[in-house]
């Protein structure tokens, strides 16, 4: 699994005449080696993919994880980061030993100050900015990855089935969000992100912060629930609407247009070459029905991170490809009134069709 991923990296490096790649991104390190540090942004580890060897650097605080990995994968070479030496000085030996002339780095991850140190320190070394090399490889999921995402989606479906039962007048957004979290954690999983539970007018704020909010379910409330599960590092993402009592005809009609636009877009994907077209197609179904366009993209890739490649937006250059995993999530928002969104996580199968992984029903759910 990791061997295949490393091979893909090496193929890209060869095409670009780069001798080795410095991998600094937390998720790329996890993807390529299975190694995970406690924090995502503190540079506690880095990887160098060279021609023959893969070097994994981390400090003494992770010695145990290193030993565990060592027995699992013998293809990595472990190097200890010493507390009083900089990242750069650790690179020295490898650069010499491997005769590295051009070292690729992840331009979308490396900080400008890190780049500066790199280029100033190695006079002979040519640091080459690679443009999303690793994260573009991560765009196409292998079987182990789609299995994990499918499982995360399935756990999310089961969670929502239970959570719907507790929604009634008097229950707060926070309580629903908390119960989603507890249900998922009891199953030994984690949240993919803090759940968004937004009632009525709050749901018209696309990035509503449930933790800071004070919404409470009332008779006739419209409840938006956007949440995901993290299963073995892989994420799911789903949004559903719950109507408390039968909604009036206008609301009902709006919901049906939205849910239908979402479903039709998923079905249309197989005919489209690019994901920009998917965004245009979905958005047009909404606006053709005299509903307002939504102030966000129609979807985004999902994997180790909640927002990754491909992009499903008006300015996305990404083509539809087999083994992409992404969301389709149009919305309709009326400020100060209410907001609705319907979102599935889908995977592109061998036949080019988008298969929905989040299977919780999208028919109007009135409780």
């Amino acid at each position: 699994m990791h061997d295949m991923r490393i091979r893909k990296i090496r193929e890209e490096l060869e095409k670009k005449y780069i001798d080795a790649l410095l991998v600094s991104n937390f998720y790329s390190i996890l993807y390529l080696t299975g190694f995970k540090t406690l924090t995502t942004d503190e540079r506690e580890a880095f990887v160098i993919v060279a021609k023959e060897k893969v070097y994994l650097f981390s400090d003494a605080r992770y010695i145990d994880e290193q030993l565990t990995l060592n027995t699992q994968y013998s293809t990595f070479e472990y190097k200890l980061i010493e507390p009083n030496k900089s990242l750069i000085s650790h690179l020295y030996d490898i650069v010499e030993e491997e005769k590295i002339n051009s070292l690729g780095f992840e331009a979308e991850d490396l900080k400008y100050s890190e780049y500066q140190k790199l280029s100033r320190t190695f006079k002979k070394l040519n640091p080459v900015s690679t443009d999303r090399l690793t994260i573009k490889i991560r765009e196409l999921k292998d079987k182990q990855e789609t299995d994990c995402i499918a499982r995360a989606c399935e756990i999310g479906d089961r969670c929502l089935t239970e959570i719907v039962k507790i929604i009634r007048p008097g229950v707060s957004e926070k309580e629903i969000g908390f119960k989603i979290e507890m249900w998922i954690r009891e199953k030994g999983c984690d949240l993919a992100f803090d759940p968004i539970v937004a009632i009525d007018a709050n749901a018209s704020v696309v990035h509503y912060n449930t933790k800071d909010g004070d919404g409470v379910v009332k008779d006739g409330s419209i409840v938006l629930i956007d949440f995901g599960v993290k299963y073995k590092n892989y994420l799911s993402d789903m949004t559903r609407m719950v109507f408390v009592g039968q909604p009036n005809d206008e609301v009902k009609k709006t919901y049906e247009i939205l849910a239908e636009a979402q479903q039709k877009t998923v079905e249309k994907i197989t005919e489209l070459e690019t994901l920009k077209e998917a965004d245009e197609f979905c958005r047009k179904l909404i606006t053709d029905n005299r509903l307002p366009s939504y102030p966000h993209s129609t979807g985004h890739g999902v994997g180790l991170e909640i927002h990754e490649y491909p992009k499903v937006s008006l300015n996305s250059p990404d083509k539809r490809k087999v083994n992409q995993v992404f969301t389709i999530e149009p919305g309709v928002y009326f400020p100060d009134k209410h907001g609705m969104r319907v979102e599935d996580t889908v995977v592109i199968k061998e036949d080019g069709k988008a298969r929905i992984l989040t299977k919780f029903p999208k028919s109007l759910l009135a409780i």
Copy 2:
């Protein structure tokens, strides 16, 4: 409060002959404006501190937060990020309007690829790398900040007082960690980071991951608890040891040396000019007693982030200054056997003395 912080930024810019600063870091934006996006790493907002005005950019998903801020602070000018325009194109108007020739950026935050776009797009503009300008200003806390940190520490003290009561043979690390989290969240606060609860040999792994662990308290266990509270965006950090049953003389002696070294270091700080000396002083007290040195620094700054300036390490260039907040946390680790650490969060007062904010007792706690 924000005005004062902005003024400090402008003073630094003037010294460096920089016309304006592009602020991209999530915590720096929060610090300078009070504005907070849902994610810390997705560039959903940015700030430009110009000579007269401060521009805050964010997208339509945050329109509500913008309006709220607008009523609070009239000194900011709000700009909407349009979904199909890049960050760069949003900068155009401001650069023109404000006649910006040199634009500073946070070199330790801006990605190399973002820098590339910036320097390629603006032919006339001179992007100037600023070295930790904002985060060095954040190093010295104002009253509102130390008040929040002190409160976070106090809540942590109360939490641990309750948590100690549930520690007994049969209870797992995960359960203790979970109960710490629940106690803190019931109080309307958040975790500063995932608590580390590590029993016996697990405590010798400095970055032990409690969520993936399986340790259970036994008779005679040594329990390490390292956790923090987030109160109004500000963090606390504390580590304490709990002994289940009376420890043997050797363990007791080791603990006493460690706790004494930690306390002596806190008291010594007022006499030291640099924080490198604090690290050396503390480490020497441990090794002079024939105990092994610890594979981490003696401390780190705490504020909006759990690791910020100043550094308290062997290669720290930072001087001791009034209104710094940092930890002092030596440890003693015996691989496969046990590990101990004692950690306080302290603030440097006007008289140069370090005042301990985490007040849970450090005398040997045997239950």
